[in-house]
Homo-oligomer: 144 residues x 2
DNA sequence: TTTTTAAATGCAACTATATTGCATTTATAT
DNA sequence: ATATAAATGCAATATAGTTGCATTTAAAAA
């Protein structure tokens, strides 16, 4: 509902995706949240007008195009967040730390926190990193 | 089938768990593998003699007692590995890096690779860390 | 503007993982 | 040998995700 509508429409076109209701709705929801958004939450707020399968397909297409990235939280639930901008269909650049609050269950993209380097045993070839810190988020810590 | 049977029986007793078939079977399977073991794999090799629900309950009990630890791989699938020894019902100490091979899908405990420290934004309280590196494991890299 | 068409959606069916309640069985203590 | 709490089996249920196919629609072409 905010007026990023036009920006989102261009984003879809740029990626060769048609400008459809479900897609714009997903972009709108994701961009108006301060944390990553879980699939169940998306399914719930999108209501029954959009089919579950469509939602899954929208998310899959966005991920493939580098528009959003997926983060599995501590329970294996899929959470999605808009990519930082330099991602595309060929490569994602979202290797920042994610924080999963044990209280409110939110998943935060700590966009400024890079995953530190470490050594792996000989022979192993690392291609991707995924670091999830869990604990209490700033918002929940305040409520005391 | 190996003769850790006696050791496992003591382990169960020590944790106040009865010495039952399904439990010994799970311990036997997990201890004879070089990587973590997925729930689906366990379910498959345990066969139909043991009910699925029993397997889930065995895994849950072991995790709570600090006998095994759970690692979710890149697809959200639960994988289990025997703990290193210093874990108990009160606290787990398995904060090593895990490696998920994109080829053979195995999840390795890199027991000697600690998760390096990093800073989080003010207000966030980190309690647990989970770092999964993915790529090609040593065994798969050899087959070329 | 109308027509065309590939892309996107909806719907139904299905698979897989995981949990809960309750009846029955069994490992262990007495 | 018996008692009992713990463990298991079974049926039902919940939730996440996928696939095939018919229908609709956004966008390009005429
Ligand atoms: Mn992120
Ligand atoms: Mn491990
Ligand atoms: Zn929180
Ligand atoms: Zn491998």
């Amino acid at each position: 509902m905010t007026d990023n509508s036009n920006h989102f429409e261009k984003l879809l076109i740029k990626n060769g995706l048609k400008r459809t209701g479900p897609r714009l709705q997903v972009l709108d929801i994701l961009s108006n949240r301060d944390s990553a958004t879980s699939q169940p939450y998306l399914e719930q707020v999108m209501g029954t007008e959009v089919d579950r399968v469509t939602l899954y397909r929208v998310l899959k297409a966005f991920e493939e195009k580098g528009i959003i990235h997926k983060v599995l939280d501590n329970h294996g639930t899929a959470n999605y967040a808009i990519c930082s901008g330099n991602c595309n269909a060929n490569e994602h650049h979202d290797e920042h730390v994610h924080f999963n609050c044990n209280n409110c269950k939110k998943v935060y993209c700590l966009a400024n926190v890079q995953i530190p380097a470490f050594k792996v045993p000989a022979g192993f070839k690392v291609e991707n990193l995924n670091l999830i810190a869990s604990g209490i988020c700033a918002a929940c810590a305040d409520k005391d």
